[in-house]
């Protein structure tokens, strides 16, 4: 017997007054995989995430997390999930460590202090642990936000546009954190409107358009939907991003491909 998928969505519908946000959404997410919900702004990505995280009720259809129904077994669902919303949901007045300790208390863990210290280490925030979050940079804030979502090791994590508004350096930090999550066996559902983000992170990608999933597959499958690639020879110039990262001094983990050349003394 195979384990049921970590996330199971069937015929999800949701309208806000006159606007039909979702018109029948179906998809499954396998355990321990990263699933990207890709779509333009207003496609209904956040609505899906809110329904799955029990913040919103669907008008029709069902959604299950770990076999628990989001509508009728919301408490059990909340035990197995964690939500990282569109804006870093951190408490600015508290320190980074206090934020983590608070969440650990609310998840009723036995040793909140240790949980907090471990996560601070894992997300390279130990030095900033005692500082108020108001003094953090955007990337640090997002890292803390994700660290807070990991308190209590929930099996399923929702990341709603985790890198929107971040500079490339911070974005790379977040990507690294997401990869580590999946490596630890956590199921990740992320929404994004950055194609590159889906390409970099996701095992499966679904494209949401006007409230419906129009395509769902692996990157390879998606690429095969278009005519086969032509071979062209193009001079590979560094992208502005490569230049930026070279100057700022943080590597994009080598994935972005283009050779990083020094830009000074040209």
């Amino acid at each position: 017997m195979t384990a049921p998928p970590a996330i199971e969505v069937r015929g999800l519908e949701k309208s806000y007054k006159e606007v039909e946000a979702l018109r029948g959404v179906d998809f499954d997410v396998a355990r321990g995989s990263i699933f990207a919900l890709l779509g333009p702004n207003g496609a209904g990505k956040t609505t899906v995430v809110k329904i799955l995280s029990t913040l919103l009720r669907a008008d029709a259809g069902t959604a299950g997390i770990n076999g628990f129904d989001v509508a009728s077994q919301a408490a059990e669902v909340r035990d197995s999930i964690s939500l990282t919303g569109q804006f870093a949901a951190v408490d600015e007045i508290l320190s980074g460590r206090e934020n983590l300790v608070l969440v650990a208390h609310l998840r009723h863990l036995t040793d909140p202090g240790k949980v907090a210290d471990d996560l601070l280490r894992r997300f390279s925030l130990t030095d900033a642990a005692a500082r108020r979050v108001a003094t953090y940079s955007g990337g640090m804030r997002r890292r803390l936000d994700i660290a807070m979502s990991l308190v209590g090791s929930p099996q399923v994590i929702f990341l709603d546009e985790p890198t929107t508004g971040l500079d490339p350096e911070a974005r790379n930090e977040v990507w690294q954190a997401v990869r580590e999550l999946a490596a630890h066996g956590t199921t990740v559902l992320l929404t994004t409107h950055y194609l590159e983000e889906a390409e970099q992170l996701a095992d499966r990608i679904a494209i949401l358009r006007e409230g419906r999933i129009v395509v769902n597959g692996t990157l390879l499958e998606l690429k095969q939907l278009l005519p086969p690639a032509k071979v062209e020879y193009v001079e590979k110039q560094p992208t502005l991003e490569d230049v930026f990262l070279a100057i700022v001094g943080a590597g994009p983990d080598g994935e972005t491909g283009a050779g990083r050349r020094p830009v000074t003394e040209a």
């Binding site: 995280s53 913040l55 035990d79 951190v90 408490d91 007045i93 508290l94 969440v103 998840r107 009723h108």
Partner: protein, 253 residues
């Protein structure tokens, strides 16, 4: 999940109390206006007002205390609004915690913050000559009425806190509450007012609450006013609680 209600509420209250202790300016801002009113009325207008009381500050203090709470709860709405805006509210809502504890934490924080402000205002009143000969029991009754009043206005503040679209909207609702004491027995005896104004002043809630507090700490029998005052406070508390919870449930799906 209710088995965690008290623990969750305690942790969340601890969190928002730290907001107050780390930005003491909110306490200062909420007490500045009532204290300014108090000084203005005692030292500028007070000489011209015949309150029938030997010390005007003693006559005035109950109204000032109500104004203190009315200005304090605008911060209650503001803090709740900020939590909703920042997304931390949604984080709490998606966690396995007792749902209503998120709201109760704000209510308890508001109660503590307002009690601190009230103590500050009473201390200033003592400095400028307020004296009370009343016993411990009467003061406990005063504290009890102020607590019920604060809870009622706090639950009222939850409504704009949950529904406001902007920061200004979240706190503006308190302005009429701040001015209500002016058309009551708080600053001048109602007998000096013209007919319709006097009628309004005598039957609006502030007058009965002000009279009750004044009677209690000057050691006079409070009479029926105390029951009218309590009925207003408890009535408002129940209605505001009902509405706030309804909005909260609808919001959190």
């Amino acid at each position: 999940m209710t088995r965690h209600f008290f623990g969750d509420t305690a942790f969340l209250t601890g969190r928002s109390l730290r907001h107050i202790t780390r930005s003491v300016d909110t306490i200062i801002t909420t007490t500045i206006m009532p204290i300014a009113f108090m000084l203005l009325f005692v030292y500028v207008f007070g000489g011209a007002i015949r309150s029938g009381s030997p010390s005007y500050v003693t006559y005035l203090l109950p109204g000032i205390l109500l104004i203190t709470v009315a200005s304090g709860i605008s911060y209650t709405a503001f803090r709740l609004f900020l939590d909703l805006q920042s997304g931390i509210f949604e984080r709490f809502q998606s966690m396995p915690i007792a749902r209503s504890s998120v709201l109760w934490a704000h209510v308890l924080t508001s109660l503590v913050a307002n009690l601190i402000s009230l103590v500050v205002v009473v201390l200033v009143a003592l400095l400028i000559g307020f004296r009370s000969g009343a016993g411990v029991l009467a003061w406990l009754a005063v504290a009890g009425i102020l607590i019920v009043f604060t809870l009622a206005l706090t639950w009222l503040a939850m409504i704009p806190g949950l529904t406001a679209k902007s920061v200004d909207g979240a706190s503006a609702f308190s302005y009429p509450l701040i001015f209500l004491p002016f058309v009551s027995s708080a600053f001048v005896p109602t007998s000096t007012m013209p007919g319709p104004v006097r009628a309004f002043a005598e039957y609006q809630p502030v007058t009965s609450i002000v009279n009750t507090i004044r009677d209690l700490y000057t050691g006079r029998p409070a009479g029926t006013d105390i029951w009218i005052a309590l009925a207003w406070c408890v009535g408002l508390l129940v209605v505001a609680y009902g509405f706030a919870m309804l909005i909260y449930r609808r919001r959190s799906g």
